[in-house]
Symmetry: C2
DNA sequence: TTGTATGCGTTATCAG
DNA sequence: CTGATAACGCATACAA
């Protein structure tokens, strides 16, 4: 069998409890015995058993990550590796481990999360998305499990600790950037409206139009999957309008890439014929042609703060509800140009 | 406190051990008492505690994922979400949970993996990468922990269960495709040579050249990070050669995107001036311009098989060593063209 | 400062 | 078919 606290105790000539205290670095143990015990641990190659500790402790030092269902296209988005990197950093600092939800359907994931929590596999969870009428959110709230969401919760927003960008303002500013370049016909290409982030960005876009005195045109608002087919459809529709847009606000870099692809097939040039500003500033926004002007939302930080705050919540149940806004920056690259009255 | 097996036992008027057997659906319990007990569980909203079970069982039903260090650029590669999706599927099917390594440096991750295993947090691990002289691999082997690697292990390959593509053949075929299009000056743009996958692809490329009777030119082989800067450097070098290549084998889609970007800045057209075939066939190979001809390596399947086989190993220590090769397919899109003697 | 005894929630071993 | 009882490895209240 494996070497346990008892073996160490025996070798060091102390009681198991003493060994336990040495592990916890309890101040009420003399340096002398600490040294002795540690020596014994080294000799035996002792490693504390987390499982046993968790059982005694009622705390696992593990936090759960709830992803959108893996069948979801969103899963392919580079957003996720990057938030996880941030989460991972904070978790590592506080010596927490990370556990991921599995399951392809929403239902599977829901069940999985319940098991995670009720089965005491994790101390709390981070929702890596925020969607409308989310069952999991409701469940977590009802049962008082520690959790934080990345994004803006749909309901009871002020009762849920969350880490978000000011997507409303970010979208407004992105749109204003296009307005300042002289564009008056600006369309919005968004993702699934079930995600709060899409909603906020759409609202910000609308606000900017209003502020600029530009008309709101229903036909300028399209929601699609980011895949090629979706992008093609969307662009065809937009370009077949009597007054096609000269600029686009695209809610996600990956989607923007699809749009670029479609525009290219139609022999339209960015930014000469159409300007594009998108969101997230993931690696590929720099690698695309032209490199995309994109709103950097600081994905890493989003994850980092989420994990940090969840851990605080877990370790101190009285931790107040928080709303943390991560700053964004518009990164200007090459996908936006001045509106030129005369166009090819 | 939470509802335990004892509470259920009390309510159902049976012994705790009986409840335990009902949970395990033991055949030696009468249907009648099973029903009674299950009823009690429902009433109390009972959920088994995994931690306690693990302690008694000496099995956690959790598998650990070892990522390359998150500081590594590789982390940004869409390869990872996709393997994880595959792993997740297999894990879910067998009711295993997933735990991720954290840590930015190689050293951090090494320590984390040791903790995971020695601390009995996981039953086994999957290495999501394979690099040369990997400490973790050595450690796992020496200590007899169940693990499988995705990719080809550097050393003692036949002693380690691994799931891989035939990257050698895949690269040879990719290169042959270019040869068949009439190209004679074919360069190789690869990633870090510490990763086995890079090595194999390079070897396959070389083999194809040899078979085609084309000269091996050292100056045609470049290794770079996939970022824009790297791509630019690489292309500048290649194009400043006396006889610049007319085609490229690029070891990764993301890198190919960087190359496309750079070529575009240099006003070179793909595939008219230069043909490109790359690897992995991740989503963005379809979204790029032109859409990339890419070798589909079935990333999902790679993950799925890895998890499936690890679980077999965990559940049956006598499971034989396996080497599983996942098939690949060349997906022809628009980044390759015939070599035209006269070029602009 | 250290040791003893008990509990954490299950499973497993024996009886019956 | 079912019930006591002892692990599993560690933490902690209470003693000393």
């Amino acid at each position: 069998m494996n070497v346990t606290i008892k073996d160490v105790a025996k070798l060091a000539n102390v009681a198991p409890s003493t060994v336990s205290r040495v592990i916890a670095d309890s101040p009420r143990i003399s340096e002398k015995t600490k040294k002795k015990v540690r020596q014994a641990m080294k000799e035996l190659g002792y490693h504390p058993n987390f499982i046993a500790r968790s059982l005694a402790n009622k705390s696992t030092q593990v936090i759960g990550l709830v992803m959108p269902s893996s069948a979801d296209k969103a899963f392919q988005n580079p957003f996720f590796p990057e938030v996880i990197r941030g989460i991972s950093k904070a978790a590592h600092e506080k010596k927490y481990a990370l556990q991921m939800s599995t399951g392809e359907s929403e239902e599977d994931i829901y069940d999985g999360v319940i098991e995670m929590l009720q089965g005491r596999r994790v101390d709390g969870v981070i929702l890596l998305y925020s969607r409308i009428n989310d069952k999991i959110t409701k469940y977590l709230q009802k049962n008082g499990f520690p959790f934080v969401v990345i994004g803006k919760p749909h309901k009871k927003t002020e009762q849920i600790t969350h880490v978000d960008n000011d997507n409303y303002r970010a979208a407004r500013e992105a749109t204003e950037h296009l307005v300042q370049l002289g564009h008056e016909r600006i369309a919005f290409v968004g993702g699934n409206l079930n995600y709060m982030v899409t909603v906020d960005r759409l609202l910000g876009y609308e606000e900017a139009l209003k502020n600029a005195g530009l008309p709101y045109r229903k036909e300028y608002i399209v929601h699609e999957e980011f895949l090629k087919e979706g992008g093609q459809e969307a662009m065809k529709e937009l370009l077949s309008l009597e007054e096609p847009p000269t600029a686009l606000v695209v809610a996600d870099d990956l989607m923007a890439l699809g749009v670029l692809n479609t525009l290219d097939e139609m022999n339209l040039s960015v930014p000469d014929d159409i300007s594009i500003v998108s969101f997230n500033n993931v690696l590929l926004s720099e690698l695309s042609r032209p490199p995309l002007t994109s709103v950097d939302i600081n994905i890493f930080q989003l994850g980092y703060e989420a994990a940090k705050n969840l851990i605080q919540k877990v370790e101190n149940p009285n931790e107040p509800i928080k709303r943390i806004i991560i700053p964004h920056t518009l990164i200007k690259r090459c996908s936006c140009g001045y509106y030129r009255k005369k166009r090819g």
